[in-house]
């Protein structure tokens, strides 16, 4: 038998027409067999790198992943894991110095790419025609993908790992196929015996088609693969098989078709009788049949009636109007596919009446209560979950997203995402019900909720067409926003006439973002809630909802959101990053503190904890600390008229000590008039005078224009100038030394990622 690997010299990928990339897992590799390999690679390659000005690429995304890993608290982790976390930290230090001397380039890539995997694939596909490329990674899935890509494009694209000596070790097709199958079997076994998580399920979903294609293309057979000792768990009998009517763990699940055409219109089904409480019905799961007696009536919904099944299941019997061909066929598909995941109330058996006619289905019992009745309203939220913090809401988002991600991997579109078919329990588990409305295999989701309907879908009949993933992702984004904001609608703004369709269509997302001053921001504490949201999540929200946002037409996927919310969770846990203690409050009563050093105090009037944060005053370069919190300030006697107070309101004469206050024109919070400058509070003044770091002068590539200046042009509908000279200023002298060629090219490469990459590949 031939060797399963081929050894190559990685230095060949440091030649001018080639590129070498390194993935996160290589830096975190703790395998003693390969120890020192990275170091050897750099020793062997450094002269070539510098001679060709062709540094090894470690994309920003990888650096970000390493940073995240290095921040994990290793206590309580396994020894191996703790060692890997330590390695991530060490790698960062190494990368810093290596990039300083021009050996590594780590400024490529941006945050719009959710996963390094996807980034590498995009990169390789895009530049395969220009360069030979090699990626160092241990991830078998991406290895398979790139091998397939290389075959499809007939280009030289390699994936491998490093040996101890810094040689490039590349799997043969056979060996890679074999390893792919072992990985698949490992995840599939966990899924089958019920110990699997979403990662297992999405790996299974991803690997299955990949391996099929790989086998076909390279003429390899699955039967040749012997499952190694690592997969013993798959043969263990599952204790859950005994319980009715959960079916036996089946073979790993194939996703539904991704490209099914719309089925012909739905039609009603004939039936002789609809069973009710106490009546016996027949059930049939994927591989078993039996009968059961409908238990107590649990509820009547818009489509039918739900009865108690057994300890862990319920039975839904459709009403006459909803007993249709589509529902029957869809439920049969779901039952037959035997998808199972915690929190998804997927049909496990079809239910027939005594005449053998389809009348409903069995599904797992959901626990908890509807979002609508728990977290979507302050009164209900404080009644149901009085101790929860922001991090608990973030957990709910994560739990919701894991389920959505899994369903999307199975090519299931939920369709009617709304706060009445999502439930949450006191352990923050999310349950998704109403599986019979899901869209799959060309059966549309016939129902919808305007608040969660994408602009493109509004005004159409839900049952007339299939929803696109973009429509679904609109609902996902809206739901996430409403979880974090406890029920507030993203497009809420002042000046509406109550027309929700109009609000969604106009795309005027009114919450304050960066230098934009949206005067339509709703009143109340919502602005404070919004202000405390973790910046990356805030960015995704803004770009998804605002018509000028970058993700307005290409909305973030469940996977992307999941990553953002996991980062939000670790941010809230990290006291250094999340310096404002109020950021973990569900209902904060002030804006997020300006900076880490801002003084934060309890309110002396009402005693609310951390209720006052210092406001930076740029003029005297110190924090102004208000005397009382916003709540106490707002409780001062208001003028008798119901109209909004005039901009300068003198307080009653009986309180001669009160200062006159006025409203800041940017943040609309009131301040002592003495604190305002050109109608702005100290914090907003600072902001207005700050240079926008995202707008660079076209001549010198430096920030050049203030937010205030930008607002001036915007208000007059003028184009925003693009250079120092256009605003009658002179570019500052380029006084910075350029220690290495890399540093030079870096400072030139501030425009978009692809532009930078093109330039770089073009040898610039």
């Amino acid at each position: 038998m031939s060797s399963p690997v081929v050894l190559l010299d990685p230095v060949e990928f440091l030649q001018p027409n080639r590129r070498l990339f390194i993935d996160t897992n290589v830096f975190m590799d703790t395998e003693p067999r390969r120890a020192g390999g990275l170091k050897r690679l750099f020793e062997r390659g450094q002269t070539t790198i510098l001679a060709n000005n062709n540094p090894i690429v470690v994309p920003t995304k990888v650096v970000g992943e390493l940073t995240k890993q290095s921040q994990i608290d290793p206590s309580g982790e396994s020894e191996e894991r703790a060692q890997a976390i330590k390695k991530a930290g060490a790698a960062l230090t190494f990368l810093k110095s290596a990039s300083r001397v021009g050996l590594v380039r780590k400024d490529l890539g941006d945050d719009t790419n959710p996963y390094a995997d996807d980034l590498f694939l995009q990169l390789f596909e895009r530049f395969a025609g220009t360069y030979e490329m090699c990626l160092l990674t241990h991830d078998i899935t991406i290895k398979l993908r790139i091998r397939l890509l290389a075959h499809r494009l007939a280009k030289r694209l390699l994936v491998g790992v490093l040996t101890k000596d810094g040689d490039l070790e590349v799997d043969t097709d056979d060996s890679l196929f074999d390893r792919g199958h072992r990985k698949y079997a490992r995840h599939a076994a966990r899924v089958a015996d019920g110990t699997g998580n979403f990662k297992d399920e999405s790996e299974v979903a991803a690997l299955k088609p990949l391996l099929d294609e790989f086998g076909k293309i390279f003429g390899l057979k699955t039967s040749a693969v012997k499952l190694g000792p690592r997969t013993t768990r798959s043969s263990a009998p599952s204790p859950s098989t005994a319980r009715w009517p959960a079916a036996t763990p089946a073979a790993p699940v194939n996703p539904f078709s991704a490209r099914a055409r719309l089925k012909p219109s739905d039609t009603p089904l004939a039936f002789s009788a609809l069973p009710s409480e106490g009546e016996r019905v027949e059930w049939a799961s994927a591989d078993k049949t039996g009968t059961l007696v409908l238990g107590a009536l649990l509820g009547e919904g818009g489509e039918g009636t739900v009865y108690d099944g057994d300890r862990s299941t319920v039975v839904k019997i459709f009403d006459r109007d909803h007993l249709t061909r589509h529902r029957k066929e869809k439920i049969e598909l779901l039952v037959g596919r035997n998808l199972r995941a915690k929190g998804l109330c997927i049909p496990t058996a079809v239910v027939r009446n005594s005449a053998g006619e389809f009348v409903g289905y069995v599904m797992p019992k959901a626990s908890g209560r509807e979002f609508q009745r728990t977290i979507f309203n302050k009164r209900k939220f404080e009644r149901e979950f009085p101790t929860w913090k922001k991090t608990d809401l973030v957990d709910i988002c994560i739990s919701f997203l894991e389920k959505v991600q899994y369903l999307h991997s199975m090519n299931v579109i939920l369709g009617d995402i709304n706060p009445k078919n999502l439930m949450v329990d006191e352990k923050k588990n999310v349950f998704i019900i109403d599986a019979d409305s899901w869209q799959l295999e060309g059966y549309p989701c016939p129902v919808g909720t305007p608040m969660f309907t994408s602009p493109a879908m509004l005004g159409k009949a839900y049952s007339d067409d299939l929803r696109a993933m973009e429509d679904e992702l609109f609902a996902v984004a809206t739901m996430l926003f409403m979880i974090v904001m406890t029920g507030q609608f993203p497009y809420i703004r002042t000046g509406t006439d109550g027309d929700m369709v109009q609000l969604i269509k106009e795309g005027n997302f009114a919450f304050q973002y960066e230098n934009r001053n949206n005067k339509d921001q709703p009143e109340g504490d919502w602005k404070y809630m919004w202000s405390h949201i973790h910046k990356p999540v805030k960015d995704l929200f803004w770009h998804s909802f605002h018509r000028e946002g970058k993700r307005y037409k290409k909305r973030p996927t469940a996977t992307e959101w999941l990553e953002a919310f996991k980062a939000y969770k670790s941010y809230l846990r990290n006291g250094r990053m999340c310096f404002d203690p109020m950021s973990n409050d569900v209902y904060p009563i002030r804006n997020k503190a300006f900076k880490q050093d801002a003084p934060i105090q309890d309110c002396p009037t009402c005693g609310r904890k951390d209720a006052i944060a210092g406001i930076w005053n740029d003029d005297n370069e110190e924090y102004f600390v208000p005397r009382q919190c916003n709540k106490c300030r707002d409780q001062q006697p208001a003028p008798l008229s119901t109209a909004r107070p005039p901009s300068t309101t003198r307080t009653a004469a009986s309180r001669p000590t009160s200062q006159p206050t006025a409203t800041c024109k940017d943040c609309h919070t009131s301040f002592p008039t003495a604190q305002l400058k050109y109608g702005r509070c100290p914090a907003c003044t600072t902001k207005a005078n700050t240079l926008d770091p995202n707008r660079l002068c076209t001549d010198c590539r430096q920030p050049f224009i203030t937010y205030d200046h930008i607002a001036w042009f915007t208000a007059k509908y003028l184009d925003i100038p693009k250079s120092h000279s256009a605003i009658k200023q002179v570019c500052p002298a380029a006084g910075r030394p350029t220690p290495s060629p890399t540093a030079k090219s870096r400072s030139q490469s501030q425009p978009g990622f692809w532009t930078r990459l093109w330039k770089w590949f073009a040898g610039n």
Partner: protein, 224 residues
Amino acid sequence: MARLNIGADDLVDNPTPRVPVSLCLDTSSSMSGSPIQELVRGVNLFYDAIDEDDDAHDSAEINIVEFNSSAGLVHDFASIERLQRISSLAASGTTAMGAGVNLALDTLETRKATYSGSGVLYYQPWLVLMTDGAPTDNIDTAVMRVVDMVEAKKLTVFPIGIGSGADMKTLARFSPNRPPLRLDGLKFKEFFEWLSRSVARVSRSTPGDTVKLDLEGLAGWAEL
């Protein structure tokens, strides 16, 4: 008399879309005696039912406009939590229905402007008009305003006649989409129970949804 405390906080802190309901009630002298007593009982029962419904509780905002020789506001819009039950209404004078409806429409406009100004979502408002007689003032303007709003889908109106003296032809002018209904005897209780269920139904929908009224439930109180 009803009293209420004005609080801006629960207006803006509650993200639930609001459904403003104006009860525009005839308190002319012909209503005195058991009709007005049953009406008061019915209204209070309506409040209780809204209070107990988890959805309607956070959605409904109710005011009462009365009309006799002139029109007056019994209490302005408030959430159910802030509404005290009414102890009595005095019945006297003539039937200034035009003035009553105009005032009710004005209060609805003002309330919508408040929602709009503070950033609160709302459903298009409801107007419940109840009378046992015929108008003694000019109703042309009021009719025109109501019809325009109903046709623009900016108002849902329920004109209800009380007893055999109610002028159903006049009420019909206020209801371009469906015929007005006459209360069966003094079944105020049944009517307000039905109304609270209907409000609850709306508050479970999303603004913009078409909500089907519970027509079967009408049989409980209407003379069909």
